[in-house]
């Protein structure tokens, strides 16, 4: 199916790649369906694009790309979801903020990663409440 996106224009997506976020994302509670997009010129970033709102997308990154030791524990989110962690494939992204005109000041939110269950096609933004990770960690330090 084809969707319109502000960043990448018209994009053809696989309907079975759509990720459902039953609780939405804080700030955008009513947007529940997303796809992960990538273009060569924006590697290593991905775009977490709303299927229902062409203007809504988040820049996301595999956290281990910049912080190899970053990890989340089952206990961090077993209170939020009832996934079968041993059997299901889970991906993790951090949401990146790139200030307009100042990309060198980009930060990522390591405190509240986006976690996606690839088997269930379900996503949730969890908060690592007991961690020391920053929600505004500079990426170029």
């Amino acid at each position: 199916m084809k969707i319109q996106t502000r960043q990448f224009g018209e994009v053809d997506i696989d309907a079975d790649k759509i990720i459902n976020m039953p609780s939405g994302i804080p700030g955008f509670k009513d947007k529940k369906r997303y796809v992960v997009l990538q273009k060569e010129e924006t590697v290593p970033f991905f775009l977490y694009q709303s299927v229902d709102d062409s203007n809504l997308s988040f820049v996301v990154l595999d956290p281990t790309k910049v912080m190899p030791e970053y990890s989340i524990e089952k206990s961090d989110f077993e209170k939020s979801v009832d996934w079968a962690f041993e059997e299901e494939e889970i991906s993790c992204f951090v949401i990146v903020t790139i200030p307009n005109g100042n990309p060198e000041k980009m930060t990522a939110n390591f405190m509240a990663p986006l976690v996606i269950n690839n088997d269930r096609k379900q996503g949730v933004q969890i908060v690592l409440q007991s961690s020391n990770y920053s929600h505004k960690q500079p990426l170029l330090k």
């Binding site: 924006t42 200030p99 307009n100 405190m111």
Partner: protein, 81 residues
């Protein structure tokens, strides 16, 4: 806003399955225990607001800046090797 007075050890119930209990009181703070179903997210308000704010800022990214940021990250990573 509904305002109720409670003693230490007493609780209030919201709906069928959320219980909020006053655990301990200090001079300027109180400790609260919360029982809620897993689909209910419980966060300190300032934490929730900072995450919401970051999400809103991230959604305003511009493709030109994303491309530049991508190059900056790749340069940094290749500089490490």
């Amino acid at each position: 806003m509904l305002i109720l007075t409670r003693k230490v050890g007493e609780s209030i119930v919201i709906g069928d399955d959320i219980v909020i209990k006053v655990v301990e009181t200090g001079k300027n703070n109180i400790r609260i225990g919360i029982d809620a179903p897993r689909e209910i997210t419980v966060l300190r308000q300032e934490v929730y607001e900072s995450i919401q704010q970051e999400n809103i800022l991230s959604s305003k990214g511009d493709k030109f800046d994303i491309t530049r940021a991508a190059k900056l990250i790749e340069n940094k990573e290749s500089g490490k090797k």
